[in-house]
Symmetry: C2
Subunit: 364 residues, 2 copies
Amino acid sequence: MVTVTSTAKKVLLLLGTVTLLTTASFSSYAADKVYRLKLAETWGPNFPIFGDATKNMAAMAEKMSNGRLQIRIDSSNKHKAPFGVFDMVKAGQYDMGHSASYYWKGKVPNTLYFTTMPFGMVASEQYAWFYHGGGMALMEEVYSPHNLLSFPGGNTGVQMGGWFQKEINSVDDLNGLKMRIPGFAGEVLAKLGASPTNIAPGELYTALERRTIDALEWVGPGLDLRMGFHKVAPLYYTGWHEPATELQFLFNKRSWDRLPEDLQEILRVAMRTASYDMYIQNAHASAEAWETMLNEYPDIQVKQFPESVLTAMKTANDALLAEHAANDAQAKKILDSQAEYLKKARRWTTISDKAYLNSQQTAE
Amino acid sequence: MVTVTSTAKKVLLLLGTVTLLTTASFSSYAADKVYRLKLAETWGPNFPIFGDATKNMAAMAEKMSNGRLQIRIDSSNKHKAPFGVFDMVKAGQYDMGHSASYYWKGKVPNTLYFTTMPFGMVASEQYAWFYHGGGMALMEEVYSPHNLLSFPGGNTGVQMGGWFQKEINSVDDLNGLKMRIPGFAGEVLAKLGASPTNIAPGELYTALERRTIDALEWVGPGLDLRMGFHKVAPLYYTGWHEPATELQFLFNKRSWDRLPEDLQEILRVAMRTASYDMYIQNAHASAEAWETMLNEYPDIQVKQFPESVLTAMKTANDALLAEHAANDAQAKKILDSQAEYLKKARRWTTISDKAYLNSQQTAE
């Protein structure tokens, strides 16, 4: 199995005659060229799951490159700009970033479409769209003018619809509802009369407890449990707005181009694996946390929005997207690609995963 | 970003004084140590999707190692032993294999449990079990006495229940049914009066056309379309018996131990990524092929086994597994681990993927 090529053998023979250099320093010539990359992440230090994706990626890259790649991860407590990751990586202040594409929609509107969309694809469908359905090329089209490369950075799977204090039985119940729900899903709810707000994570629990807000969405059991929301808003609604939230690795294109091809491939594969791995890690963490919630917090009730509410949300969602498409040819191209892929992929999901899960006894 | 260490700089300075060696041959010292690995796969040459997983893995490993890893892939037309992969890798005749764990159950019974189980976990649940729920350690326990390492090697997602000529409306309809359905699922059906058989892939279409068999299962639209079964048995039943078929990379432990740590990590990550990638590739291929089937073959009808039939299959399945567990302490340990994990993971899947998919309009 192990083969030393004839060139290498010759070099070894010649080495015997070179007394200036020891074998150790000699072989370190290629191995010691270290590339140090700096990565800024949106998350705070030790943020679970999301932060594990960057650590996992960096550890794989370092080991696979035998130490030639060294990635320093700066959390938001260090760089102080959780939502400045796009700008810092674009400017070359950082070589890499870890964040989420939809955070940049105020700056570059069409970045919105590369994280997840309400009523959109689930994780397996969306990865298939990225890697086989044209998604990566469309993402490149959006990021390339900013000298940035963007890669999938970890999926949460279906996010829960959020924690509520009162049941939502009709569209009227959304009227005036104060809910922490940022981004595009917030716009959808605003169209139905709700008052979406954004509040810093550290203040969310108090805001919910003091009824400053009536409801909020976060992620899913794996990240929600430690936030304690279930103690003050025990109605846990199932998801509609983020069926496959995909985080993002950003790369400054000049930093990327400076790397030798083998290290580029090591990084490409490490990012790709870390992204899939986070999807699986979050599935595990959610299963564990949900079991804890079921055992220790019997007040929690799982609720689903009634069909009339979901239909109204979907109508509002479609109207907003139609506006986007009408105003921007690139947006139209991306939205058309996603809609077409979703239709095709969901037909298959319907007779595979959905049919299978529905044929099994509920595991309660 | 790019940093040349001081050691490397010193070596470069010294190099100027060494006239015996050119810089090119010098730097090739470390880079030219090529490790050649031979991989035997169960599949024939150019077998789609399954065969792409090995090619994808080998290409990533070669690029990431800058050519230091060279993997030669031998398909079954070369080694002539599609079901001899376990033995050939164990004996060191091949360094690696690509196959499926459940093929070895006649040789090492407890290998059965590391591919997929009827009524078992779906892909996200099973990957979570492998990587976070103790699955990898249990698999190592089974393979390690054979000097083999086993890694996930690509998932098909939910496999379809197969192509039938007549409807199955009751358990009685299974009585005497001649069906190509190999492995453990065949044993389950045998308990219900069916006659499971195995037939070489090349003869399947003719056997079905001539009514030598009444039904068969293969994989799913992505691999079934080119086989043409839909032309002679147009009832396409949804799946129950292989909800997350995971292929397998095998590694001879001595071959593995001889590799430097960086190349081991490159291979570990390349196998892990290729495995996830195949899951996504098959989801895409199935969506595409299913669209073709819907458009071009209007005779195809999707069917689900009635609840009474599924319940009888589940009862037969549980009885067989209880026998396995009663006869073998290791089997009991693995089955208990899977049952416990499935229960926990499915509770989460039920309020995430399942609830979401059921809340969406059926995509037809």
